[in-house]
Amino acid sequence: AQSVTQLDSQVPVFEEAPVELRCNYSSSVSVYLFWYVQYPNQGLQLLLKYLSGSTLVESINGFEAEFNKSQTSFHLRKPSVHISDTAEYFCAVSDWGGADGLTFGKGTHLIIQP
C-alpha cells in the first residue's frame, strides 16, 4: 500500500517570491511520482512527473521537483511565482507496474498575494 502526505493545506506567498510545496510518500515498492495542478473551476492537469533517470524534473511553466529516495520526498519548487499560479496542487504516486491507480495527497492550496 502507498500513501502520500502533503503537510501544508494552504501556502500563502507574495507574488515573485519563491515557493516550495512539500510532498512525502511511503511505499514498499519502487514508484513513479507526479504533481498535478487544479486551477479554479478546471480539471486536474499533469504538471510534471518522475519516472526514472535524472532526479530533477521540470515543467514548462517554471516549476521543478526533485525526487529524493532517501527522504522519500518529491517537493515542488518555483523560484518566482505569479498570480496565475494560484491553484490546488496535488502530489501523487503509483507503483512501477502501474497496475494500481494513482494515490493522491490531500492537496496544497497555493495562494499568491499581490
Binding site: L44, F90, A92, G97, G98, D100, G101, T103, F104, G107
Partner: protein, 113 residues
C-alpha cells in the same frame, strides 16, 4: 485533440435513487480509471479498466458501486441506492497504457439530497 469528457457535469439526485455517470476517454487509450474526490481531499482511486475488463476494483467502497466498459472505450459508473455520503466529484482518467500518464476529465459533481 479531444480530451477526456464526462457527462453529466452535474447530477443532483435524491437519496435511494440510482445514477449513472459516463466517461469518454481519449481515443486509443486502453487504460481507464475512476476516482472520487470529496471536498478538501485529493482524488481517491475507485476502479481501473484495461480494455474491457476491470483490472483492479479494490477502491470501490461497497457493492452499491459498479462500473462497466463493454467495448473498451466508454465507461459508465453506476451507483445504486445512493446515499448522502456519495456526494462528491467523480473523476475519470485515461492513459495509453497503465504505465503512461493519466489524463483527467472535468468530472461529474454528484449531489445526493
Amino acid at each position: 485533440g479531444a480530451g477526456v469528457s464526462q457527462t453529466p457535469s452535474n447530477k443532483v439526485t435524491e437519496k435511494g435513487k440510482y445514477v449513472e455517470l459516463r466517461c469518454d476517454p481519449i481515443s486509443g487509450h486502453t487504460a481507464l480509471y475512476w476516482y472520487r474526490q470529496s471536498l478538501g481531499q485529493g482524488p481517491e482511486f475507485l476502479i481501473y479498466f484495461q480494455g474491457t475488463g476491470a483490472a483492479d476494483d479494490s477502491g470501490l467502497p461497497n457493492d452499491r458501486f459498479f462500473a462497466v466498459r463493454p467495448e473498451g472505450s466508454v465507461s459508465t459508473l453506476k451507483i445504486q441506492r445512493t446515499e448522502r455520503g456519495d456526494s462528491a466529484m467523480y473523476l475519470c482518467a485515461s492513459s495509453l497504457s497503465n504505465t503512461d500518464t493519466q489524463y483527467f476529465g472535468p468530472g461529474t459533481r454528484l449531489t445526493v439530497l
